[in-house]
Symmetry: C2
Subunit: 276 residues, 2 copies
């Protein structure tokens, strides 16, 4: 059996892994700083495990079109240093093995479909709410995909007067409901806000509006919510009742729950990607 390598490239940290699945996976975490530092460290660790193929689930926007000359690049990210970085090319050049490249959330939904909470589910949405907000979906067994991968974090939803923190759009979903947005609004990191803080009811409203929009758009049966902000498990019942309220019986309410692979959803997704 070939050795599989996985890189979950997040805005805060990389998780690199080698193995064959949830029962057989070694991982390492590397902070996300510059491409030089972070990718060099990831490649050095990978080299010690000699994978035959590597899957990368990357933060974005990224060019995942195999016919594009910029395939494998991170494109218009606000993260300084990473814009127009040839990520897949750098990893391929350093290790000399095939690289499979997709968005972090497309990888995560693939992993959940293969090993996690979406096994046997035809239509599943995976959302991550952390440093940024992103979404990937599988519909009838295929990744939702148009001209480019989804950028679900940047939809517009009803909101109050808070200006938001997205450097491109201000108060888009990510600008209102990501971890940094919560910190900017409430003056402390989300993980320090107690479960009964009003921050969570508002956060649930924003995430419910987003889930309603995605449900009206492509009708998932299952919505998996991962990422650092979702570690506050009190959010789940708040979001479920808000989605029910907003849909008002018009269409079926999707099941809403945490990823089955927990904090390893991203790296196992990248592993699923490497396995093709």
């Amino acid at each position: 059996m070939p050795a599989y390598g996985a890189i979950e490239a997040g805005g805060t940290k990389f998780i690199c892994g080698v193995g064959t699945g949830p029962e057989d996976l070694q991982t390492i975490e590397i902070p996300t700083t510059t491409p030089e530092e972070t990718v060099t460290a990831a490649v050095a660790w990978m080299r010690g495990h000699a994978p035959d193929v590597i899957g990368i689930g990357s933060f974005g926007p990224a060019d995942i079109n195999p016919e594009s000359p910029a395939w494998g690049y991170i494109t218009s990210t606000p993260k300084s240093g990473w814009r127009n970085f040839n990520f897949a090319g750098a990893v391929h050049q350093a290790l000399g093995v095939p690289v499979r490249f997709n968005s972090d959330v497309n990888a995560a939904v693939l992993g959940e479909s293969k090993w996690g909470a979406a096994r046997g589910v035809s239509n599943c949405l995976y959302l991550t709410i952390g440093t940024g907000i992103g979404g990937g979906a599988i519909l009838s067994g295929r990744l939702l995909h148009g001209l480019s991968h989804p950028e679900m974090g940047h939809i517009r939803i009803p909101h109050d007067s808070f200006p938001g923190v997205c450097p491109f759009h201000g108060n888009c979903l990510e600008g209102l409901a990501s971890g940094p947005a919560m910190e900017a609004r409430w003056g402390k990191p989300a993980q320090e806000l107690p479960a009964d803080h009003p921050a969570w009811a508002l956060e649930a409203q924003y995430l419910a509006a987003a889930i309603v929009n995605f449900t009206c758009t492509f009708s998932p049966e299952l919505v998996l919510l991962g990422g650092g902000v979702m570690h506050q498990s009190a959010l789940f019942p708040l979001i479920r009742s808000e989605v029910e309220l907003l849909l008002a019986g018009y269409i079926a309410i999707p099941d809403i729950k945490p990823p089955g692979l927990g904090r390893r959803a991203g790296v196992l997704g990248a592993l699923a990607l490497s396995m093709g």
Copy 2:
């Protein structure tokens, strides 16, 4: 060659047609009142043309899942009399020919893809803005589809204090930007509002927010805007500049234009559906 029949079932009128394409199509219009009256009239006209198969593009929500016991039904529509109506069954029973059943906008995007503005385009969204708002999309040549067909008219977008007119959701997109919403807000039908009326700038904002949301969600290259409200062609440049402003260079802006099949997009879509 078999004779093809088409029914575009809209909230205000039915357009029935028989033929083989844009150059060969006879049509008739029937006002949408009750299922008994309207479907009886449609079936009577069809009988005179003896089609071998009929495509129905229906307003919704409708059950288009071929494995469902309620396949061919209109389900939770606010339109009185039509809820839980076995539409495909009634037509099949009356005419004794196979019936292909889908949403009006799924049919329209199929027709545009076959004969209209979306020929050769892999990723296209069709939105209709009229009595209601609905959307259908083709991605990589296949209809966008999850557990059910899209209900894009019911997404939530930023809005002002107008309560909206959707009987289910108040100020969802349809509640804010459909023809009846414009009439409720401005006190006269949309077609009576002059091109320089402030109604159109606000309408463009709402439709642009929706297009941005769909673009962030599934990345169409082309967005076709049909329906009665879009007969105000001054809307197109207003919408285009608002979409550009909202996306702020983050991702590619889709081309935004009218359907190539004009007011026949719906009935030709139903015809495309009947041709399989």
